[in-house]
Symmetry: D2
């Protein structure tokens, strides 16, 4: 039923938003959960002065944060909430000018214990126009006993 | 002369610290320039609650910020101040517990226009003990006219 | 006109096949150009014993070759024939059993001088069933005078 | 004792050379094990025409093979012989002209189940002069039951 599907989707987004709210650093930088589903996750950010580098663009480190976190949430959507980001690659193509930013991540393949995810960092202009600015690929692992001493 | 070399090293560190201070995001998260030389750069951070993820470790996004920025400073130390980070790979091995963190970057190879750099993310315990927690490799490019529209 | 478009597509594939045939290593391993268009390139391989590692799967190094080359052809399809692969990341998820292998690459974003491309390494079974086995992301640059001393 | 240490080192190199000889693709391309120790591995190649791309340099795919394999051997030297390469990043800086090539890999950090390794691809000229040409970072995992369905 549409209503129940809607309720499920809302519940998933609500769950992910609560996990994000439990990350002090995510609260500190002001990220919000825009979308969360089975195999996808999107984080949003309203760019403020304290997110910028010396030329006024979004700091590359904020791009790194957004990519890392969106990739991890996307991986967690298929592997379960107890996951670790094993690694991430990030290729920067254009500066992010904002004033809004989206980190749109999706699972492109996964086994039971490992997911390969991709993430686009998208600058959203004042009129809503979107420009892809950076592209990430990451691997997310289910955290088990054997890996308990690893991140 | 030792005195003048000391003065030069101090001047380089002072210059890099001023660039870091001109990055609003770096000021916002509280990073500081610990070392900056020809082919190397180290950023430091005193971990506070607002740098953490939900399990109390340093947020992976902060690791991404530290790696991105230390790699870029290291590349800039041999290519000049006008550089762009083209890409970065980050492999996470252990959680960062702190209470201090260092991002120790060095140039491992470079041409006139491109540098390949590496960075270790090091957790420094209360007694000063050091543990490597993540390892990054990045490519930094000199920004020229042809790339003016890219980040 | 459909006929002319068909002719153009054939001409593009023919051009790419000739470039591949001019690469002695590609001839040596037996790769063939399966598809080449504006923003995409697919290489194919019939797995033989000399492509394998010690457990009978496709050697990871052959996966590296296929990803590197498919990414470069895809980038060249939008940047022109004179391109350099700047970097590549490869995440392995499953062994490639074959007996056929495809490396399916596409441009996901590009400026005038740089393209970010992705590539799936697909194992094709005897009955034609396809399994994604590895995923790559790479950056391809247009080779210009300034980079003439670089690869 | 020097003699016994020498014997052990010889035995390790002999063991690694046998594993390499059991990889049909490594035999096909003509790679040889130059050094293998606790935390390091070096592969060597005498460049022949069939290793080249269309401009006469070593094909990027051969660089990918050498990096992948040297990283895996280095990881295996600390994790045991049953390992999987989880991922690899490769940054190309200069063309490899040879006539000899070395892939020099080392473990830079590891837990019980995962190793982060680096590899330099070195072109060795006729007079023995060495030029670093590409730099890789990879993660190697111990293969266990849980990962038995993954590569």
């Amino acid at each position: 039923m549409t209503t129940e599907l809607g309720t499920d989707a809302d519940a998933m987004l609500d769950f992910a938003a609560k996990v994000l709210a439990a990350q002090p650093f995510s609260v500190f930088v002001g990220a919000r959960m825009v979308e969360f589903g089975s195999g996808s996750a999107t984080l949003g950010l309203d760019m403020a002065d304290h997110h910028r580098q010396q030329h006024g663009y979004l700091h590359g480190g904020m791009i790194g944060y957004l990519a890392d976190n969106a990739l991890t949430f996307a991986g967690g959507s298929v592997l379960g909430p107890n996951v670790l980001t094993a690694g991430m690659t990030l290729d920067y193509l254009r500066p992010v000018t904002g004033p809004q930013v989206l980190a749109i991540a999706e699972v492109i393949d996964h086994t039971e214990r490992m997911a390969v995810c991709r993430c686009r960092i998208v600058s959203v202009g004042a009129a809503g126009e979107r420009t892809d600015c950076a592209h990430a690929q990451g691997t997310i692992r289910a955290a088990g006993r054997a890996q308990s001493s690893e991140q």
